[in-house]
């Protein structure tokens, strides 16, 4: 049997090269006027509308699980006064970037990829280019920026909802003391943790939208091609996001002094 093109390692390299080239194009195109305000607002609204509800629903149990784990652990160690501190730290530093990454790639990225892919196979993208309009400027840049903004907002949302969920579980269900929980908030976590998480979210939003756009714009082979593109875009984005998360976390620990 003739082996398929996907299996050739050279192809993987070429695709990462093309993806990188497109990212540079996007970067170069961002300053170009006129900025597509309408498309940006529409896309931001759209990405937000498909991600906000699932994000809130995912972050409540996430905060709760963390609170349960930490609550049990701190009681065993006799360090109940630290349970608030530990769960805030866990939510801010680890949970919120991961939840944001999952949602922005799983809900936002797939929607972008499917939309652009459908346009590609209907020749709409080609028609646009023939009409003298650069799809990177018109379609990709607004989507990337919208996805970045929404990712930052989502990260804020996850932090708030996660911490609130943790509070609820610790105080109401595990009979923790509200005062101790709140007072210990800042013993381990610090404001720079929040900033770092927001920066991560910004990068995740950009990566998710770039991969989704690249996969969408290179879709081929009819409706099935769009399905494949969406599928690949999710897998690639997840891998990239987890690697980026690791790298960013490592860098953050190097440059910001830690408390506790």
């Amino acid at each position: 049997m003739k082996h398929t093109k996907l299996m050739k390692p050279v192809n993987g390299l070429r695709h990462s090269g093309d993806l990188f080239a497109m990212s540079l194009d996007v970067l170069r195109t961002i300053p170009r006027r006129p900025f597509q305000v309408r498309e940006f607002v529409q896309q931001a609204w759209f990405v937000a509308s498909v991600t906000i509800l699932p994000t809130a629903l995912v972050s409540i149990p996430f905060g709760a699980v963390i609170a349960l784990q930490i609550g049990g652990l701190t009681r065993q160690l006799g360090a109940q006064s630290f349970s608030g501190a530990a769960s805030v730290l866990a939510v801010l530093r680890e949970a919120s970037p991961i939840v944001t990454a999952l949602l922005i790639a799983g809900a936002g990225g797939t929607a972008i990829c499917a939309d652009l892919g459908a346009r590609k196979i209907r020749d709409e993208i080609d028609a646009m280019q023939v009409l003298g309009i650069d799809p990177i400027h018109r379609l990709v840049v607004p989507r990337v920026l919208a996805s970045m903004v929404v990712a930052v907002l989502l990260n804020g949302l996850v932090s708030v909802v996660g911490v609130a969920g943790g509070y609820f579980f610790n105080v109401v269900l595990q009979n923790g003391t509200p005062g101790a929980y709140l007072a210990s908030f800042t013993t381990l976590a610090q404001l720079s943790d929040l900033w770092a998480a927001e920066v991560k979210a910004l990068v995740f939003g950009a990566i998710a939208a770039l991969v989704a756009s690249y996969k969408g714009l290179t879709a081929k082979g009819g409706p099935k091609g769009v399905g494949d593109a969406v599928n690949q875009s999710v897998v690639i984005t997840f891998m990239l996001l987890f690697v980026t998360n690791f790298v960013l976390t490592a860098v953050y620990f190097q440059i910001v002094p830690q408390r506790g």
Binding site: R119, R122, D126, A127, M128, Q129, V130, L131, G132, D134
Partner: protein, 311 residues
């Protein structure tokens, strides 16, 4: 005024699949040319190469003197503004209604006021018979209507070169007749260079100045209409007459055995066939209301002469 397109030694392949190779032809400025070929021979790929959407591996495409295969992306966008392209499925923007689709190029590239845009858009919509469908979305109309809307959008900027990818497939015979008349009228009015990809032999016989035929990864023949219509080349005759006997099979190429069997069966009738005067279908001329430029006057005169000799 239309511009000349000069293609030389063009070769395009995807991976190791060669689509066509060494294609050379010249589309004379202001003339109508038709490109024929069995399904899957890369006619759409050829059109996309002409506007720089696909990059051929070898050869050059000179449009009014500039080789577009060597242009950078940014300069390509400028060149493309002189093109009007009708894509195979219309390629309308799915999120806009027909009116906005057709107004799109005007809003993007001109400083016309909304009322002026409205006038131009409605004029083009009337031309293609879409009045009353302004508010419809592309997903809500038939394939034939999408095609006509795509044509209207290709025309709004008064392009110098118009490429049509199967303007007549999916239309009913009456619409095809109207469309052919529309194409001829347009050519007389705006004098642009036309390239039409089609499967419709009747249109190919009546409409163009030049005909080309793509087959087996090559441009078998390209030349004036008379030359192809009276050609004795088996592929050309088979295609222009829409017959099964000949080198073209269901799967693009026939094998030698089938060909030999057929040759016996049909008693080599094909080889002996002489071109008859009937091969020359009369040309479609611009309608009565249209002012004929000198080029079309000359064509009308030579048609009248031929008509005279026949009867």
């Amino acid at each position: 005024m239309g511009v000349e397109i000069c293609v030389e030694g063009l070769t395009k392949s995807f991976g190791d699949q060669v689509i066509w190779q060494n294609v050379s032809l010249t589309l004379p400025a202001g003339e109508v040319s038709v490109l024929l070929g069995p399904s899957g021979t890369g006619k759409s790929v050829f059109l996309k190469s002409l506007v720089g959407l696909l990059k051929p591996e070898q050869g050059s495409i000179r449009i009014a003197g500039t080789d577009i295969t060597k242009l950078r992306e940014h300069d390509l966008y400028e060149v493309r503004k002189s093109f009007g392209v009708l894509f195979q499925d219309g390629a309308l923007f799915g999120s806009m209604n027909l009116y906005d689709n057709i107004a799109f190029p005007l809003r993007e590239h001109t400083r016309k006021s909304e009322s002026e845009i409205r006038r131009v858009v409605l004029e083009k919509m009337e031309m293609v018979g879409l009045i009353g469908a302004e508010e419809k979305l592309p997903g809500e109309i038939s394939g034939g209507m999408r095609k006509r809307a795509g044509l209207a959008r290709a025309l709004v900027l008064d392009p110098e070169i118009i490429l049509f990818d199967e303007p007549d497939s999916g239309l009913d015979p009456v619409r095809v007749a109207y469309l052919n008349q529309l194409i001829v009228d347009l050519n007389a009015q705006i004098d642009a260079t036309f390239l039409i990809v089609t499967h419709d032999i009747a249109s190919a016989r009546q409409v163009p100045d030049n005909i080309g035929l793509l087959f087996r990864r090559e441009l078998v023949m390209f030349g004036p209409r008379e030359k192809l219509l009276t050609s004795r080349e088996p592929v050309v005759r088979q295609f222009l007459n829409g017959r099964m006997q000949g080198p073209i099979g269901m799967a693009e190429e026939k094998d030698a055995a089938t060909m030999a069997r057929e040759a016996v069966h049909f008693g080599n009738a094909l080889q002996k066939e002489q071109p008859s005067p009937l091969d020359m279908t009369p040309r479609l001329l611009p309608g009565p209301g249209i002012d004929r430029p000198p080029r079309w006057q000359a064509i009308a005169e030579s048609e009248a002469r031929r008509e005279g000799t026949r009867s």
